[in-house]
């Protein structure tokens, strides 16, 4: 098979390569008295050693020569690398190779200029016409494989083909299967299982199922009431009712917003030295929660985020949605501003490509994609879509903040603001009259320091008695305080959102950047979509006169949700599956390209994708269908035979156990002891972080103001996400790193997790609250206490053995270690919070 393809694909190339001649013979431009044999000898004895010593380290790997330039073959040199032919036989001095070794412009080798003699040798060789021995007759030439082209063949890759609704398989009746499954999902799964001669696991028990469903939809454990009601409901629709109840829960939005936040690299600060907060980022998070809760069609959800400001009638909601673009890193003092600009654009292209299309378009930034048929041009056509967007800052308020308040509020505010600014200016003048006096003997460093407002008071104070009188300083101090107060209480601002803006209706021209270098613009490109998907040319909508925007992003959104797009629905349906089953039908859920995993159930995936579109892109019907399937309701218990045949559960013969996510772990601890504050929405909160952790900051505590205790007990989705400082318990249980899009979380098991859930101040305090709540609930009876504690973490009746073990522990601890009843109970609560069954779902 391997050989066959090689022959078919590379026959022409192989043929030319087999010609055992050096073409230098016929095309040499400089007449030379040397014979061809002498020239080849010159190459072997003089040139080859120079190349070997200076160049081949980087330019000899046929797979990945540096800069795409291979110096081991004559035709490769003439073809050149990404910057074009290395040698022009008719213009030796203008040949790139000659220029770079002479250190004219680019410099090669980078480690230092070669001795003049070596340079002369290479130039002489170029003048001779680049004589090099060709491969000997019969000797196979190593085939140089380039990036995959966009052609009829590569367009046939499964995920690039249009989505077709597959027929639901008809299953053969067996002893266990009497009727066709009601749920088409099961028909697809069972058909494959039958083919593989695997039998599915039985259905899970009710508690396991309830825990699974509740966590999957809300990220929280079921309450005792919910468990009791489900266990007591013997009707055939009991489970269906639970799913409907959970889908209607406001906590559903919190849980699923968090998934989306992983994907869009959601963070509330900029990274780098200051790691400053992004104003109003939390409104985007609340937008996500509201969108999921209201079951907003995914097509609309996507369009609002990519182009909410370019819609015919933007609303505050759709403006907030474009905060999507502002969540990435922002270097406020880049060494190379142009490079930084293109890094920012790359962040948007990478995130958008992977999240919405499941394509790593970003790999084509410096050269054609090495794995997928995505030419470099396609990357820069996608860059062109965003070319008109402004940068995050300089200044942030102008570029990234938009007032979304109604017009009448804006008028009223303008008047208030004028008064306010007048007062501030007055103060400023009064202050500066004193400052001017003090300036006289400022050192350069002090001048620098003076730029920071908080430094001014001490700087002026230093000069009391010399340049400034005591009375003047007193006034200065009072006015400074007044200014601080005023600044902290501006007129109640207009409702503002973090959002995208563009610089005008016509964005600057876009170019292919050679080698991805923003200082090397190549051919100009127009906006466009990945060509391997055979997209139409973008139809850029004409926006209203007052919309200061190009409309390109709206064109992108329109194409993404158009029926011709083969990826959008597949990618999203697959994510839904992944977040229910722990893995997607395509495991690499943000990579549907050649290097991604193949779908284990391609027909099922297409079925779900078409269901999504048929339901007007609403997610809740799809959740419902997935969760009502037997596939979802199966037990996680093992089956030796199946395990042997399919250890990775590719066939989905059972439900895979999963560990709770970082947020679920923290929220469950708070839920278990009853202290979880279920308040929805609003600015982010700051749970206490230990001093040892803050010590890692250059200014310990900077940017982390500890919240009130009740706010510290809010759900994790509301915890402030600071790029350089992550809440330890979340970091330790593999929360998403917010610098890049995160499609699948890691699940690590490490001793530092155990240290944190055994010894941390947080966990010990939660255990204390837990014990207190238990004593309140269960009274003094150890039996009842143990039962209550275990029930709160496991949501099931503990066995007699489990109760006895706990009761023994309490008694033993009190007796042997001389601690109080309350303390022994607290320690038992600590044990409960560390149970595997607590953090693993069956």
């Amino acid at each position: 098979m391997f050989k066959l393809h090689l022959t078919r694909l590379f026959l022409p190339l192989s043929l030319t390569a087999l010609l055992p001649i050096a073409l230098g013979l016929t095309t040499a431009q400089t007449p030379s008295p040397l014979s061809q044999a002498e020239k080849l000898k010159f190459y072997t004895t003089k040139v080859a050693p120079v190349l070997k010593a200076n160049c081949l380290v980087c330019h000899s790997d046929p797979k990945e020569p540096s800069g795409g330039l291979l110096l081991t073959k004559r035709d490769a040199i003439l073809k050149g690398g990404v910057t074009g032919p290395a040698v022009l036989l008719n213009n030796v001095d203008k040949s790139l190779l000659v220029e770079v070794i002479r250190y004219q412009g680019r410099m090669m080798p980078p480690s230092g200029k070669m001795p003049q003699a070596s340079i002369d040798t290479l130039v002489e060789w170029v003048k001779m016409g680049l004589p090099m021995p060709g491969p000997k007759a019969g000797e196979a030439e190593p085939v140089h494989h380039g990036p995959p082209p966009v052609n009829a063949e590569t367009k046939k890759f499964w995920s690039f083909l249009p989505i077709k609704r597959p027929a639901v398989p008809i299953l053969a009746k067996t002893k266990t299967l009497k009727a066709q499954p009601k749920n088409p999902i099961d028909a697809f799964i069972l058909a494959k299982l039958a083919k593989a001669k695997l039998s599915p696991a039985p259905l899970a028990n009710k508690v396991a199922l309830l825990r699974r469903a509740t966590y999957d939809l809300t990220g929280l454990p079921p309450t005792p009431k919910e468990v009791a009601s489900f266990l007591n409901d013997k009707s055939p629709t009991a489970y269906e009712k639970v799913v409907d109840r959970l889908l209607a829960s406001p906590h559903y939005g919190e849980k699923w917003a968090r998934h989306w936040m992983d994907l869009v690299r959601y963070a509330e600060t900029n990274s780098f030295e200051r790691d400053d907060p992004k104003p109003f980022a939390w409104k985007y998070r609340d937008y996500l929660i509201r969108s999921f809760n209201s079951d907003k069609p995914y097509s609309q959800f996507l369009t609002e985020q990519l182009a909410g400001d370019e819609l015919p009638k933007p609303t505050p909601e759709t403006i907030i949605a474009t905060g999507y673009y502002r969540l990435g890193q922002w270097d406020d003092e880049p060494a190379d501003p142009e490079q930084a600009r293109y890094d920012e654009l790359d962040d948007v292209v990478a995130t958008t490509g992977q999240v919405f299309l499941g394509l790593t378009v970003n790999c084509a930034r410096c050269h054609d994609h090495k794995i997928d048929p995505i030419p470099q041009k396609d990357y820069y056509r996608m860059v062109a879509i965003f070319q008109g967007t402004t940068r995050f800052g300089r200044p942030v308020d102008k570029n990234s903040l938009r007032v979304i308040a109604p017009a009448e509020d804006q008028k009223k505010y303008a008047a208030e603001l004028a008064v306010y600014r007048g007062k501030l200016n007055e103060l400023k003048e009064e202050l500066s009259s004193v400052e001017k006096k003090a300036f006289a003997d400022f050192t350069p460093v002090e001048k620098e320091e003076f730029k920071g407002e908080m430094n001014r008071l001490p700087l002026i104070k230093k000069r009391v008695g010399t340049l400034v009188s005591a009375a003047e300083f007193e006034t200065y101090e009072t006015k400074t305080r007044e200014q601080d107060t005023l600044k902290n209480a501006p007129p109640k601002g207009l409702e503002t959102a973090l959002s995208i803006t563009e610089s005008g209706k016509v964005p600057p021209a876009s170019h292919i950047m050679l080698r991805g270098n923003p200082h090397s613009p190549g051919d100009e490109v127009t906006p466009g979509f990945p060509s391997v998907l055979s997209p139409p040319e973008p139809t850029i909508p004409v926006l209203s006169a007052e919309t200061n925007s190009s409309g390109r992003r709206l064109a992108l959104a329109n194409w993404l949700v158009s029926p011709q797009n083969p990826l959008t629905a597949r990618v999203m349906a697959n994510r839904l599956w992944q977040y229910h089953f722990g893995r997607g039908i395509v495991r690499s859920s943000s990579n549907f390209g050649f290097m991604g995993n193949l779908p284990t159930h391609p027909e099922l995936l297409d079925y779900l994708a078409t269901e999504l579109v048929r339901n007007n892109w609403k997610l809740k019907p799809l959740h419902r269908q997935i969760m009502l399937s037997e596939a979802y309701r199966r037990s996680s218990q093992t089956d030796t035979l199946a395990l042997k045949k399919d250890p990775e559960n590719d066939f989905m013969w059972r439900y895979d156990m999963r560990r709770l996510s970082a947020e679920e772990v923290r929220d469950s601890i708070l839920a278990a002891n009853g202290s979880l504050n279920p308040t929805l929405f609003g600015p982010s909160v700051y749970p206490k972080i230990e001093a040892e952790v803050l010590a890692g900051q250059s200014i310990p505590g900077y940017g982390w103001k500890t919240s009130l205790p009740e706010d510290q007990a809010r759900r994790s989705v509301y915890v402030h996400i600071k790029r350089s400082l992550v809440l330890p318990i979340l970091a330790s249980f593999d929360a998403a790193d917010a610098d890049f899009t995160c499609p699948v979380r890691f699940v690590t098991t490490q001793p530092t997790q155990a240290l944190s859930t055994l010894n941390s101040v947080f966990i010990n305090e939660q255990a204390r609250i837990f014990a207190k709540a238990t004593a309140y609930d269960a009274g003094n009876d150890p039996d009842a206490q143990v039962k209550s504690v275990l029930w709160r973490v496991l949501q099931r009746e503990p066995s007699q053995k489990e109760i006895m073990r706990g009761v023994d522990y309490l008694a033993r601890t009190q007796k042997k270690f001389g601690v109080s009843k309350q303390e022994s109970l607290r320690r038992f609560c600590l044990i409960a919070l560390n149970l595997n069954e607590f953090v693993y779902l069956e």
Binding site: L6, E273, D372, R583, S698, D739, R805, N836, Y840
Partner: protein, 482 residues
């Protein structure tokens, strides 16, 4: 493992009509790729991510100690001797500089504020800032032609630590632990020690594992009896009481595990509690200096307030190396400006302070490792995120601005030639003119000495085989390899 839907991955690539590359693909489909894609769902078999792994080739060094001079030491005041600069103080010259103050074309010379003397068999010139360290020059390889992509702390620190000027990529220590694992499971494989004055700019981003699993991030070691966060038992809980608590926990977890024997993650989590318990005693033991002799304490400067903190950290670093820790980073300087080597104000005060705190401890570390036969297998790296300009930052004073065009770093031990100097800056010490090296060359050298091919050690992420040294072929600094 490489079976997907009953086909090998290579078959799948061919069969899907994308027969484009046999050779390139074979290289990319290494085992780590499979592990990752299967493991990420949390259900595949547990395998310890830090288990020792085979290097690509026989390593010279087993551990790295990176002495990070945060803020950026001035090269011409430390190791890059520029004799013609003396006597030129305050001269105005044409010079291209780029620092936090932006691009400039002229500058006022601040001549080196310290004298240089020759040391060792190699006759290396070292400034009076390092009277102790200077005696070790025959073991040191100086790289005078380092360059970085940014002269701004935030991005430059990220580059020195992770190879990229943006955050989100794994730091060097993460790469080393990912590539080689660690031999002592009772201690973290990657340890960072901070200056008590504060952390560096960007904090934890400097030792993050970025897009790799959290298993590879550094553990911060503080001073005192509890070097690691949450290492010590809560007050009131005795050792036997904790053992009892853990035994009870294990009994519960064992019952649960018995129902799910095929899920190795459950067993691994049970084991992680044992490991955590062991770490509670192993880590304090490793950092407890009580058993060190008085001579050793004196050598590292523990009896002098000035050198005590850094000396303690260097001594702890040696003890961690002895216990198999792979990568240790020690920061000299914390917080901002004069609490670091960032000498914008008074050069003399600043460098006297930071060199004074570190000279003796670093000299002791080299000497101590050598006398214990550990220097051969321990790579020491010294330097900051960039250097400093030969000219003044302001109209007055001796403050120097940042300089990424040329600066000095040095390496010693683990496979490095001693008594050599490579690369040169111009006569002012302003920019690298001979053998300029990038940060990635430094990283490549480190990986190479650890037995990893820097151009092969890769991690598949975001559609790309990511490398510490980037996608282009990168060479180690051959001139300093022993």
């Amino acid at each position: 493992m490489s079976e997907f839907c009953g086909r090998t991955r290579r078959q799948f690539i061919w069969e899907t009509g994308a027969g484009f590359t046999g050779v390139a693909l074979a290289g990319m489909l290494d085992s780590t790729f499979f592990e990752q894609s299967a493991k990420a769902d949390g259900t595949a078999k547990f395998s310890n991510p830090l288990a020792p792994k085979k290097p690509h080739f026989e390593p010279k060094a087993k551990s790295v100690i990176f002495l990070y001079m945060y803020g950026g030491p001035s090269q011409i005041d430390t190791f890059d001797y520029k004799p013609t600069m003396y006597g030129r103080d305050n001269q105005s010259i044409a010079i291209k500089t780029f620092g936090r103050g932006g691009h400039k074309n002229v500058g006022r010379i601040v001549e080196p504020r310290w004298k240089f003397k020759q040391y060792g068999k190699c006759g290396k010139y070292v400034s009076d800032l390092f009277p102790n360290l200077a005696k070790q020059v025959d073991d040191i390889a100086f790289i005078h032609s380092m360059t970085a992509d940014s002269p701004i702390h935030g991005s430059a620190m990220l580059q020195m630590n992770s190879g990229k000027i943006l955050s989100g990529s794994p730091s060097m220590g993460s790469w080393v632990n990912y590539g080689l694992g660690t031999v002592n499971q009772n201690l973290p494989g990657y340890v960072v020690m901070l200056d008590p004055r504060g952390g560096p700019i960007s904090g934890a981003k400097n030792w993050s594992s970025g897009y790799m699993p959290a298993s590879y991030q550094a553990t911060v070691f503080g001073g005192g009896k509890t070097p690691i966060l949450d290492l010590s038992r809560p007050e009131g809980l005795t050792d036997p009481a904790q053992k009892d608590l853990l035994n009870t926990l294990r009994d519960y977890n064992a019952d649960h595990e018995a129902l799910h024997t095929d899920n190795s993650n459950l067993a691994a989590r049970i084991a992680s509690y044992e490991l955590a318990y062991k770490m509670q005693s192993a880590a304090p033991e490793a950092t407890d200096l009580a058993k060190e002799t008085e001579a050793t304490r004196e050598m590292y400067g523990l009896n002098d307030k000035k050198t005590e903190t850094f000396g303690r950290q260097c001594l702890m670093a040696r003890r961690l190396v002895e216990r198999g820790v792979r990568f240790i980073q020690v920061y000299s300087g914390g917080s901002h400006v004069d609490s670091t080597w960032d000498a914008h104000n008074d050069l003399k005060t600043n460098h006297d302070l930071h060199a004074g705190e570190t000279d003796k401890p670093i000299a002791a570390l080299l000497q101590d490792l050598k006398q214990r036969g550990l220097l051969d297998s321990t790579l020491i790296v010294w330097g900051g995120e960039f250097g400093r300009q030969p000219t003044a930052e302001y109209a007055e004073g001796t403050g120097r601005d940042h300089n990424a065009y040329g600066f000095t770093m040095w390496m010693a031990g683990g496979g490095v030639k001693g008594g050599v100097s490579v690369g040169q800056t111009d006569e002012l010490g302003s920019a690298a003119v001979e053998d300029p090296f990038k940060v990635k060359n430094l990283h490549a050298t480190m990986l190479h000495l650890m037995g990893c091919d820097p151009n092969r050690l890769s991690y598949f992420y975001g559609g790309l085989n990511q490398k510490l040294v980037g996608v282009e072929q990168t060479q180690p600094i051959h001139q300093i390899l022993a």
